[in-house]
């Protein structure tokens, strides 16, 4: 890991903390404003996107199971256009994971690096 001097110091702190719990040290790191911002923002993204995926998937499964009209429509004979829905269901996970990678690369990693830089 090459996190600079801060990384080494914090790494040493974490190693120490693994042996005995030093509440002051933990509180110092947790209270760091950038640490707080990164963890909070990442947590919001992580759980919102998880909720989005669960809603999309189980919304689809429940619709098929209990109210197929929502998926099939009212046409007497189904046609190939209905296949758009499962195709979108295959596309959704790719889009959501792509979004998270984009956000993490653009923001979380940069913020974490700035925290390292500032402290070192």
């Amino acid at each position: 890991m090459s996190n600079g001097a801060f990384g080494r110091n914090l790494g040493a702190s974490v190693k120490r903390l693994e042996g005995r719990v030093d509440q002051a040290e933990v509180e110092r790191i947790c209270a760091d404003p950038v640490f707080e911002r990164v963890t909070k923002s990442r947590s919001v993204w992580r759980w919102s996107l998880t909720a989005a995926m669960l809603t999309i998937y189980f919304g689809y499964v429940l619709a098929i199971a209990y109210d197929p009209i929502l998926v099939i429509g009212r046409k007497a004979t189904p046609d190939a256009h209905l296949l758009i829905v499962p195709l979108l269901m295959i596309f959704a996970p790719v889009a959501l994971t792509g979004l998270y990678v984009f956000k993490a690369n653009a923001s979380f990693d940069g913020l974490a690096a700035s925290m390292v830089k500032r402290e070192s």
């Binding site: 914090l10 190693k15 719990v21 999309i56 998937y57 689809y60 499964v61 098929i64 099939i72 189904p78």
Partner: protein, 541 residues
């Protein structure tokens, strides 16, 4: 050899030379890679995780390769061939699990663990009990998945190459053990990458060839499929799954969260250099798997038109359309026959060889993760309490690999008649009920204690397994009882929430000093999970 196998073997006898030639080339190449990998330094980290030196794209390909098993290629194309739209529901469920793996697990696993997911669970919890429950959960999932793959491989080789079933299973066992023992994770990863590229290439070619016959217009393909399929327009809408909503949802849960508990998949996050690469590799894998399923989708519909209506592929031609079960070689064959229909002997040989290579690569990854559960968790961490040199742990893991190879061969022979798709479904249900809840709570809930993790993990494992035994597909179909005690085939809707609730309730009731100390260690774990500082880096190699 069964009659179906004999007739298929006769039908394709002149073409086998291509399949055998390509397969031998694949084995020669992968053995070459194993020799190359074996020459690198043979440390413990190298054996389990290729020294953390795999790139995000390579890892994405390997993860996709682990996931694109023969059951997803041959099985899913066969489901689409039979049910049309309903076959896609299965696909949608399996791919929906990947975002969960990325958002909740990938980064934290990489930051907290060293070699496998049990490292993460035991980070702040009691070492011995949590290692044991994680290792047993992993071993059960690995064994069941392994049996499914071995049986599938045995049947396929019997059909395609005319070997005896037992010979085919032994050949698989010997090859996978060789890759793992001599090449460790590096060779296993490269076998998986090569196979993923071959499979994606072969499937892309097939899908392209199918579409080219319909003027590159998918709607023309679907229109023709509706015309020739005996279910006609019904293949364009969900049907069979609507009949039992509870079972559908339960299966959906297992597919979605089972991915997040498969030990051979989770182990791959330790082969990259940091959390950022772990996250990117899931994105690559999800994209590749999505692309692969779209190809499978075209292949399934292509087979309806080009295989179902061709008397050449039917055991008994009825004049209009051959069902999957009526195909030469049986229900898993639509994609294989389609290769022959569009590309003749060379493509048939290529796709057959790739299907075999697929299973071989998947069982190698499974074996390595099973071996790490035995050597790293049970032997080194629990039995020897961590007081063991890296060299002897590598030795133990190689012995464990040989034992798993023998076990896989024996189980593969004993369970020759088992339903492959059922075994894979069971492995997912147990992974979702036993491994996933404990792993997730250990990282996200400070209140989880060792006692809670143990009760939840064991309960999830036992209940998922028990309900499966009592389900119609075992209690009625296999054991021959008149009525199944548990009426659903998919247990996850019941066993997974039960495991979560058990973890929660038992942890809340746990007032021990040990429990308080474990909760107090949560912040340290949290800091490391968030920043990666203190995490195992990539070793130079």
């Amino acid at each position: 050899m069964s009659n179906a196998a004999a007739s298929l073997h006769r039908a394709y006898a002149p073409n086998n030379a291509v399949a055998i030639g390509i397969f031998i080339a694949f084995v020669a190449l992968t053995i070459g890679i194993t020799v190359w990998a074996a020459r690198r330094k043979s440390s413990l980290g190298f054996f389990y995780t290729a020294g953390g030196g795999i790139t995000a794209l390579q890892n994405g390909l390997a993860i996709a390769g682990d996931y694109m098993s023969a059951s997803s290629f041959l099985g899913v194309s066969s489901l689409i061939y039979t049910f049309g739209y309903d076959g896609l529901l299965y696909v949608v469920g399996t791919i929906a699990g990947w975002p969960i793996v990325m958002f909740l697990l990938a980064e934290r696993l990489r930051n907290l663990g060293r070699y496998n997911a049990a490292d993460v669970v035991s980070y702040r919890l009691g070492r011995a009990p949590t290692r044991v429950v994680s290792a047993i959960g992993s071993l059960v999932v690995v064994s069941i998945y392994l049996v499914g793959q071995m049986v599938g491989a045995g049947q396929l080789i019997t059909l395609l190459f005319g070997l005896k079933y037992q010979v085919a299973v032994v050949l698989m066992g010997v090859l996978m053990t060789t890759y793992v023992i001599f090449g460790g994770m590096l060779a296993t990863t490269w076998v998986q990458i090569i196979k993923a590229v071959l499979l994606l290439g072969g499937a892309s070619f097939m899908a392209g060839a199918v579409l080219s016959q319909f003027g590159w217009n998918p709607l023309a393909l679907f229109a023709k499929a509706v015309e020739v399929h005996p279910k006609h327009a019904a293949i364009m809408a969900p049907g069979a799954f609507v009949s039992d909503p509870v079972n559908t949802i339960s299966l959906g849960l297992a597919l979605m969260f089972g991915t997040a508990g498969l030990p051979h998949i989770l182990m791959r996050f330790f082969t990259v250099k940091d959390a950022s690469a772990a996250r990117k590799s899931v994105f690559y894998a999800t994209g590749l798997i999505g692309y692969f399923y779209i190809l499978t989708f075209i292949i399934g519909f292509g087979a309806i038109v080009l295989v179902g209506t061709n008397p050449e592929y039917a055991t008994a031609w009825n004049g209009s359309f051959t069902t999957a079960a009526g195909l030469k070689g049986g229900g898993n064959m639509p994609a294989i026959h389609l290769a022959n229909a569009i590309g003749g002997a060379p493509l048939f040989g290529f796709i057959s060889a790739v299907a075999f290579a697929t299973i071989l690569a998947v069982v190698s990854g499974l074996t390595l993760s099973g071996a790490s559960a035995i050597s790293h968790d049970l032997y080194a961490s629990v039995l020897r309490r961590g007081k063991i040199s890296d060299g002897s742990e590598v030795r133990v893991s190689k012995i464990a690999t040989i034992c798993l190879g023998v076990l896989a061969i024996v189980l593969g022979v004993v369970f020759e008649k088992v339903n492959v798709a059922f075994m894979v479904g069971l492995a997912f249900a147990i992974a979702a009920s036993a491994n996933f809840p404990v792993l997730l709570l250990s990282m996200y809930w400070r209140g989880l204690t060792t006692k809670g993790a143990m009760v939840g993990g064991w309960l999830g494992l036992v209940v998922a397994f028990g309900l499966t035994v009592l389900s119609p597909s075992i209690w009625h179909d296999v054991l021959g009882n008149p009525v199944a005690i548990f009426k659903y085939n998919a247990p996850a809707l019941f066993s997974m929430p039960l495991a979560f609730v058990a973890c929660w309730v038992v942890s809340l009731l746990d007032r021990s000093a040990q429990g308080r100390a474990e909760a107090a260690r949560f912040e340290t774990q949290y800091i490391r999970a968030q920043t990666g500082i203190g995490a195992e880096g990539a070793s130079a190699h």
